[in-house]
């Protein structure tokens, strides 16, 4: 069965600092990988996705993520964090075929200090 691990429950960074959120997955075939962001009281917004091709993917709001098959990782990065980035971030793996349901990690809550 597929699974996603986000080892950091909570991260605090200063505004302007760089950010890396970790994600490790377990999946038998080529994974479809996603990062979503959830602001308080809001639904999930897709930041970026990886299906195939270039292992460095660019997303919205200045985020990027790198797929590393050898490490089963899909870490999310941002070079300079803004106060508005404070939110909860979810990594997810999607089934390649069939129902294509998402399996989510437990999330990382990001706090941004002024």
């Amino acid at each position: 069965a597929q699974s996603v691990t986000q080892p950091d429950i909570h991260i605090t960074v200063s505004e302007g600092a760089s950010l890396e959120l970790r994600c490790n997955y377990s999946y038998g075939a080529t994974p479809y990988l996603f990062w979503y962001v959830q602001s308080p009281g809001q639904g999930l917004q897709l930041l970026l996705k990886y299906f195939s091709g270039d292992t460095l993917v660019q997303g919205i709001k200045g985020f990027e993520a790198e797929f590393k098959r050898s490490q089963s990782s899909f870490n999310l990065r941002k070079p300079s964090v803004h106060w508005s980035d404070a939110a909860e971030y979810f990594c997810a793996v999607g089934e390649e075929t069939g129902r294509r349901a998402l399996t989510f990690g437990s999330g990382t809550r990001l706090q941004v200090q002024p």
């Binding site: 979503y36 639904g43 999930l44 294509r100 349901a101 989510f104 437990s106």
Partner: protein
């Protein structure tokens, strides 16, 4: 264009009552999903509809949960005889051909 909408946004109910949660997917999206987000369990898949095919109910936690999708569009998730452990945010998502799901804002259910 319009996104996925869900109603109500908040629902407070008493233990033992039935509740219905509604999802309006993006027009033309053939696939529809329900997920549950709770403190103890995180985000978990509940049920999947694809066109007119029989739904995949493998994620439903108990037989008190059911869902239907009428006309390949609107979906209703019904929870009978609600329990306190049903308190959660219920998220609906729809998907066109491809792999990207689009999420609604969710319904926050509180069972007293």
């Amino acid at each position: 264009g319009a996104g996925v909408s869900q109603s109500p946004s908040n629902k407070v109910t008493e233990k033992g009552k039935d509740v219905e949660l509604r999802c309006d997917p993006i027009s033309g999206h053939t696939a529809l999903y329900w997920y549950r987000q709770s403190l103890g369990q995180g985000l978990e898949f509940l049920i999947y509809f694809q066109g007119n095919s029989a739904p995949d109910k493998s994620g439903l936690p108990s037989d008190r949960f059911s869902a239907e999708r009428t006309g390949g569009s609107v979906s209703t998730l019904t929870i009978q005889r609600t329990q306190q452990e049903d308190s959660a945010v219920y998220l609906c998502a729809s998907r066109p051909d491809g792999n990207e799901q689009f999420f609604g804002p969710g319904t926050r259910l509180t069972v007293l």
